[in-house]
């Protein structure tokens, strides 16, 4: 299950962060997302670790914690997407697919002429689309 997704701008400013848990652990999840930004920077600045996947937008798993796995994605425009999941055996293809759809939703949201670049994404349509993508992520990995 995906517990948190986040969009972080090129100056590490949060553009969108949403958790999908019942419990009141938003702060903890935000902390995890925050920590992951350093890992993203490290991956990007030392690309030799990534080997053949040089400059790919999908960064793979950033780091595991006791209960969560954190995945990252960096677009050409230096916008980071962070995904926190509780699933322990996640297929890379699923995560890639998730980020691809998430990216499409993001692009549509920022193409709104009323959206101010660099400001938080407040679109409810975007939020709805994201929660749909998050829901279908659970389905595709179990089924």
């Amino acid at each position: 299950m995906i517990v948190c997704v986040a969009v972080v701008g090129h100056q590490n400013n949060p553009l969108y962060i949403q958790s999908f848990t019942e419990a009141d652990d938003a702060l903890k999840l935000h902390h995890i997302v925050h920590c992951s930004l350093d890992v993203v920077d490290e991956r990007v600045n030392n690309p030799k670790k990534s080997g053949p996947t040089l400059n790919e937008t999908f960064l793979g798993m950033l780091y595991p914690t006791e209960n969560y796995k954190v995945y990252g994605y960096l677009t050409n425009t230096k916008v980071k997407f962070i995904l926190v999941t509780t699933d322990l055996d996640v297929r890379d293809a699923d995560v890639r697919n998730f980020f691809r759809r998430f990216h499409a939703a993001y692009v549509d949201a920022v193409s709104n002429p009323f959206h101010v670049p660099g400001k938080k994404i407040t679109s409810t349509i975007f939020a709805e689309r994201v929660s749909n993508i998050v829901k279908s992520f659970g389905l595709s990995s179990t089924g």
Binding site: L54, N76, T77, P117
Partner: protein, 175 residues
């Protein structure tokens, strides 16, 4: 699914933007009108670059991003690539399009009705229509600047009209 936009609509819109800014909102302030038109282009380029770079790996240097503008970006916008790319390898790039679509239907109108001028009337008319065409080029300049700055490359873009409908865009990357 590929969604397309009617070319004639875009051209009419561009003409209308230019004319309403130059003769309506900022009739006596051509620099301000130019800035506003460029700003509209900037926003368009900013958003388009996000969309068109979606399925590609990140660019490792400036040249790669410029090449993307010349090839894929230009193909998406104009169904053709930039015809010639020159660079001095110190941050200046010249992108030449031999048949720029947004100028293809424009003509240098040598209407000699600028009476009452002491100067050579033909030269005056030439100058005026060149100015009008220049106004139409702020929008594509803004598009290029917007997309490059979204890709993390701050720059200044200007346009040169040599002989219609050829047109070259000069990109100066800010260090």
């Amino acid at each position: 699914m590929v969604r397309e936009v009617s070319e004639s609509c875009v051209e009419s819109l561009l003409t209308e933007i230019v004319s309403s800014y130059c003769t309506g909102f900022y009739a006596n302030k051509p620099e301000l009108a130019a800035r506003r038109i460029e700003a509209i282009g900037f926003q368009v380029g900013h958003q388009l670059s996000e969309r068109y770079t979606m399925d590609r790996p990140r660019f490792s240097d400036h040249l790669e991003a410029i090449k993307f503008i010349c090839k894929d970006f230009w193909s998406e916008l104009f169904k053709k690539q930039i015809d010639n790319l020159k660079t001095n390898h110190r941050g200046t790039f010249v992108l030449q399009d031999n048949k720029f679509r947004w100028l293809a239907r424009m003509s240098m109108d040598p209407s000699l009705e600028t009476s009452g001028s002491i100067q050579d009337p033909a030269a005056m008319a030439e100058n005026k229509s060149a100015q009008a065409i220049g106004m139409h080029l702020y929008f594509p300049c803004g598009i290029i600047r917007g997309s490059l700055s979204n890709l993390g490359i701050p720059c200044a873009v200007s346009a040169d009209i040599s002989n219609l409908p050829a047109c070259s865009f000069v990109i100066r990357i800010k260090a």
